[in-house]
Point group: C3
Chain length 270, copies 3
């Protein structure tokens, strides 16, 4: 797999077809996730009511479930939408925001995983590991943990046992389905100073998965690579989070073949 060519093709497909991405996501990032998807070339829709969650998912090409500002009724809709996505056969991305921080978040994310088939979990290491804490041997993980080889091995094991893609953001990203693992070295520290850029990556991951549903592992890797690359592009001119945030949206819109050929940094499969 030539990841550069593959990433260019995914991006081109997204821009040509504007896949509809159904987001049941948190209040903090609804606006930013919508703008991120629009700038990328996809079509966002947000719809969380029980009365329409399934209907909206049926129109979509991928589903994002994000637990950042949980509420009982939202969880019910997430599960309805997840099942609807499963019936249609479209990719489902779960972003377990804050899993591990409170029991409610951890338990809700586990419930979603048990009641519908999630294809991809996108989060940081502590969030992702919290979802399978009974299967994790490594301990002492916190949100600032770097993706040591130890943690990466644990992720591979969890992905294999559970038949799921784990896509973990960090200084170096790790994307694995338990059989093959990719590493992505794109990104910029300023991305952690703008709220919702992690959640935005989950939405972008869904857009890439939507256009390459038969090659999910590579499409997730491509999403991570391009997204991190946009961070790097934006940080060239903007060294502060307010102006960086605008520039990042501009990069998602304008970035393409030239930048990908010059600076995409993916390794793998291992």
């Amino acid at each position: 797999m030539d990841m550069k060519a593959f990433t260019i093709r995914c991006l081109s497909d997204i821009r040509a077809n504007a896949p509809l991405i159904h987001n049941i996501t948190n209040f903090v990032v609804m606006n930013s996730s919508a703008n991120i998807l629009l700038a990328l070339g996809a079509s966002p829709v947000m719809a969380h009511a029980r009365e329409e969650a399934e209907d909206m998912t049926r129109l979509a090409s991928a589903l994002v479930l994000n637990i950042g500002t949980l509420e009982k009724q939202w969880v019910e809709s997430m599960i309805l939408a997840g099942k609807s996505a499963n019936r249609k056969g479209i990719p489902v991305v779960l972003d377990p925001v804050g899993a591990g921080a409170t029991p409610y978040r951890t338990n809700t994310a586990k419930q979603i995983l048990s009641e519908c088939k999630v294809d991809i979990v996108r989060g940081n290491a502590s969030e992702v590991l919290a979802l399978w804490d009974d299967q994790v041997i490594t301990r002492g993980v916190d949100s600032s943990c770097s993706l040591s080889d130890n943690i990466a091995e644990t992720l591979v094991t969890i992905a294999k046992i559970n038949g799921i893609i784990l896509a973990v953001s960090g200084e170096e990203d790790c994307i694995t389905d338990g059989k093959e693992t990719y590493r992505v070295k794109n990104g910029h520290p300023l991305m952690t100073k703008v709220t919702g850029l992690g959640c935005g990556l989950s939405a972008v991951t869904a857009a890439f998965a939507a256009v390459e549903p038969r090659n999910l592992l590579c499409s997730v890797t491509a999403a991570f690579g391009f997204y991190g690359l946009c961070g790097e592009m934006s940080a060239k001119g903007c060294t502060r989070p307010g102006s960086f945030s605008s520039a990042f949206i501009d990069s998602l819109y304008a970035g393409g073949e030239n930048e990908i050929m010059a600076a995409l940094k993916t390794d793998g499969p291992f």
Copy 2:
């Protein structure tokens, strides 16, 4: 009616009086609609609880009902607020976001229309036509439909039968009350790449209606013209959606007589 002079007068009234616009709107655009109204010179307020919806409407000069992220309790509040607005005699703008996409949205928008007097429906053609699908002869409408003469005729018929102003955004906008019709040719394609700019236009429409409640058709036309003009102004310096979005807010704040005299493009009445 000299539309340029009228638009300048509306804008000047908004900036002088800062009319309070009550928005019961969707989660995606609450922040952007508030910023759009503030930049324009109006005063936004968001309040959706049943316990205060009527009270807040009583303080306002116009009401915006936007169904972009529906929920049962919100619909109840929208209707309470709508009735409160009717009692006070202030303009009510309905933005039927996504009507036609799911039955829940279509039915909810119809319910709002039947339970309170909506003065202006602002949406794209497919959304607006979905609300009167039993009265529509033309078929095969989708969200990308341009405002063909065929559709415009249908809109005129619906407006006349229902005694309502239909304000439909498209490459060329169409605003009609069934008796007279205006066309607006201002706008820029980048406006579709920033989330919430359609919803923002509904809010701006309410602000213009608030200062010219006895001349609603012209005030809506003025709102559409000025808003599109701000899009054009912003696109001169900014060709990407992140920076365009900031520039658009700046244009709403700084745009005025000079730009309106030079570039407002409204036609009508027909």
Copy 3:
């Protein structure tokens, strides 16, 4: 107390320790408050479900309760979180957005004050005075009231009677615990043209309080001074609200010792 040195130390502590600020806040400003806290150097978290409100507060170093888009269940969670904060002994900031505008808002803010110990109320004069309307002698206050000596005296009296810090934004800010009073003259009119900057100040106040919980009155004054100063810095290059808004986030991130030494304008204690 050397307020410049104190402000520099608070800011440095925030940037070094990234205190977690738990926000139960309104839909309009969730994104902007998160970005404001991140740019400042703090860590924002939003969590409003009854199931996790107490747990999340236990992890935090300060709590913000903001009633801008009220709802029954949110109020219950605010009170649970407030009690959890009281048990832990972390500062609680209440932003009574719109108190006085509807009975529901006024009554809810009063209920929060009666059911948990709020350390700091941050709002404009009309909102703050509405919470103790039975103790207010001065009448005829509206949202545009300037902080006349008359009002300032009333605030001092209320603060003293109720053992609370009142932090009131206006052309000149007034921060009092009833024993000592500070005035802050930093700020810029453009700050009123961007939605959520008042709410953002409540969040920033919580961050300053988090790092100086034993010196709340000074930490609030420092927060107001630095925040207003960031407004002034931003307005130097940006005279319109869209670009000003980005610049303001940049200033919160980049502002520091030089700007504070040159331009912090606090007076007191009186």
